[in-house]
């Protein structure tokens, strides 16, 4: 990514609707990551449940 120096020229006006759309997209991505983390937590919880129930009874295979 190239960083551009501020050339001091006036910037074109940013369209408010475009910014709003961008904000919504960013918020949607944040929501998606949070929900994905919850899903992963449930997956791990299912495996942990299996381990905690299984380990006390575990007999090593011969």
């Amino acid at each position: 990514m190239t960083l551009r120096k501020d050339d001091g020229q006036p910037k074109p006006p940013v369209d408010e609707a475009m910014r709003e759309s961008g904000r919504r997209k960013a918020a949607a991505r944040r929501t998606a990551w949070i929900v994905a983390a919850i899903a992963i937590a449930f997956f791990i919880a299912a495996l942990v449940q299996g381990h905690f129930t299984g380990i006390p009874n575990w007999v090593p295979p011969r």
């Binding site: 369209d15 609707a17 475009m18 759309s21 919504r24 997209k25 918020a27 949607a28 991505r29 929501t31 998606a32 929900v35 994905a36 919850i38 899903a39 992963i40 449930f42 997956f43 791990i44 919880a45 299912a46 495996l47 449940q49 299996g50 129930t53 299984g54 009874n57 575990w58 007999v59 295979p61």
Partner: protein, 536 residues
């Protein structure tokens, strides 16, 4: 949005067939893909059901070996749940949620594409097991160990396909949550959303919570089968009953994943054809949320006979009976919406009323099974089969077909033949009762489920049930004809507001809905909400 940006983002552009149907990120196209796929799978899973009913037409072994019968019952269940009911609801969500909340598309369109395209590969894997040495997994759709560990190695393919299906469902639900929470048009508050969007928002949280648990359960099965662990091997200190606990922690909310969107659909259709606002909108929303919450507290009612402590059985019995309360609220509110309404019985309304009646029959038999002593009699019999088919065919499938008849003119821009739609309904509603009602008698008489042969005492009702099955299966060909005719051949154009009393944002769009809709956020008119005004 500036006109240039709009042209770039939303302008009409021509796509090749491949681009449109294989690379699409458009919510309507992906919705169509989901619906078409689930329609195809309906006939695959339905053909398995026809074979099952053909074998059960009379006592004795007629058509197949017992192991193949078990493969068919297992695959029928998996296909109908993961390949038909769930994807068709996701397809409806894809089509309708952005249009109902005034969003231009789903929040994460490329994720949407991925969610769909995982499905065909998952089902190719699943169905390919039929052609593998040892055949397809035949331990039932619940895949209980130790039975499932005693089959062939094709179980690995089934488990991998379930992982893919789980990922697909979770990604789809992430998208729906992100869309509903972030993409609503200004003024579309949560409590102004149509009931279908509410039902899917809550369903999505159920999917997020339980599909990973199923993945965890089958992963442990995979490790037991191939990597020497003993999670479920009692001989090595494992616990097969633990699988049932983990599985049904997924399995019971899964039942609601397959029925809550149906509640949303019926709540859309009934007010329109009653020409009244939905009775008790907020109560309906809270009832769905309440059912979703309670669904996490009842899983062991599927395992009353495994030897639970008495306190556990009592807890799960009462918790299960408690679910009848919010469900009763919903049934009451649909009937109250119709009460003194100006009813008309167009095709979608017939399917919605059919849903209410048939789902109530299935729901009542569910309450019967919630009673521990009674369940000891019903467990493992055809009464269970009758119960969940009333809920899933008379309930979920009827609502999906009703939704297609309700929104098809909006999707295709054409009207379908009302005569054939109504004939489809009446033939379905009679045949589905001929098919499943006798199974309740068989269950009461003690006929076990999942058997290819049976005592001659059960012969008569099995024959009646099979005749109903063939009749119901053949009737669905009418549906194929109606949909194909409507989409490709119908000359009758649909108006934008297809149904006289239909409000809500989707009916402000032309029919067919344009490829890109609501590129500018619409203004929300509180007097035109889908469920009526907020006075109720």
């Amino acid at each position: 949005m500036s006109s240039t940006a709009q042209a770039v983002h939303y302008g009409e552009h021509h796509q090749s067939f491949f681009e449109r149907w294989f690379m699409s990120t458009n919510h309507k196209d992906i919705g169509t893909l989901y619906l078409s796929f689930s329609f195809l799978m309906l006939f695959v899973g339905g053909s398995f059901a026809m074979l099952i009913r053909a074998e059960l037409f009379e006592p004795g072994m007629q058509l197949m070996q017992p192991y193949f019968f078990n493969e068919l019952t297992s695959m029928h269940g998996l296909i109908m749940i993961f390949g038909v009911i769930m994807p068709s609801f996701v397809g409806l969500a894809n089509w309708m949620i952005p249009m109902q909340i005034g969003a231009p598309d789903m929040a994460l369109p490329r994720l949407n594409n991925l969610s769909f395209w995982l499905l065909p590969f998952a089902f190719i894997l699943m169905l390919s097991t039929f052609f593998m040495p040892g055949g397809a997994p035949a331990a039932g759709w619940t895949m209980y160990p130790p039975l499932v560990l005693q089959g062939g190695e094709s179980i690995a393919f089934l488990i991998f396909s379930i992982h893919l299906l789980g990922i697909s469902s979770v990604l789809g639900s992430i998208n729906i949550i992100a869309t509903v929470l972030n993409m609503r048009a200004p003024g579309m508050d949560l409590l102004k959303m149509p009931m279908f969007c509410w039902s899917w928002l809550i369903t999505s949280f159920l999917v997020i919570a339980v599909m990973p648990v199923l993945s965890g359960a089958v992963t442990m099965v995979l490790f037991d089968r191939f990597f020497g662990t003993n999670f479920f091997n009692a001989a090595a200190g494992g616990d097969p009953v633990m699988y049932q606990h983990v599985f049904w922690f997924f399995g019971h909310p899964e039942v609601y994943i397959m029925i809550l969107p149906a509640f949303g659909i019926v709540s859309e259709i009934v007010p329109v054809f009653s020409r009244k606002p939905l009775f008790g909108y907020k109560a309906m929303v809270f009832a769905i949320a309440c059912i979703a919450f309670l669904s996490f507290l009842v899983w062991s009612h599927h395992m009353f006979t495994v030897g639970l402590p008495l306190g556990g059985e009592v807890f799960f019995m009462y918790a299960t009976m408690l679910i009848a309360v919010p469900t009763g609220v919903k049934i009451f509110n649909w009937v109250a919406t119709m009460w003194k309404g100006s009813l008309s019985f167009e095709t979608p309304m017939l399917w919605a009323i059919g849903f209410i009646v048939l789902f109530s029959i299935g729901g009542f038999s569910g309450v019967m099974m919630a009673l521990v002593p009674a369940d000891f009699q019903y467990y493992g019999t055809y009464f269970i089969v009758a119960h969940f088919h009333y809920v899933l065919v008379g309930g979920a499938l009827f609502s999906i077909i009703g939704a297609v008849y309700y929104w098809l003119p909006k999707w295709s821009g054409h009207m379908y033949s009302s005569f054939w739609g109504k004939l489809h309904f009446w033939s379905s509603v009679i045949s589905v009762n001929v098919l499943f009602f006798p199974q309740q008698f068989l269950g009461f008489a003690g006929m076990p489920r999942r058997i290819p042969d049976y005592n001659v005492a059960f012969a008569d009702w099995n024959m009646v049930s099979s005749i109903g099955g063939f009749w119901f299966g053949a009737t669905q060909l009418i549906f194929v004809g109606v949909v194909i005719h409507c989409v490709f051949f119908s000359k009758q154009k649909a108006t934008s507001r297809v149904w006289e009393h239909a409000y809500g944002l989707e009916w402000t769009l032309p029919s067919p809905a344009p490829h890109h809709s609501f590129t500018e956020p619409p203004a929300i008119d509180d007097s035109q909400l889908a469920h009526g005004t907020l006075t109720h």
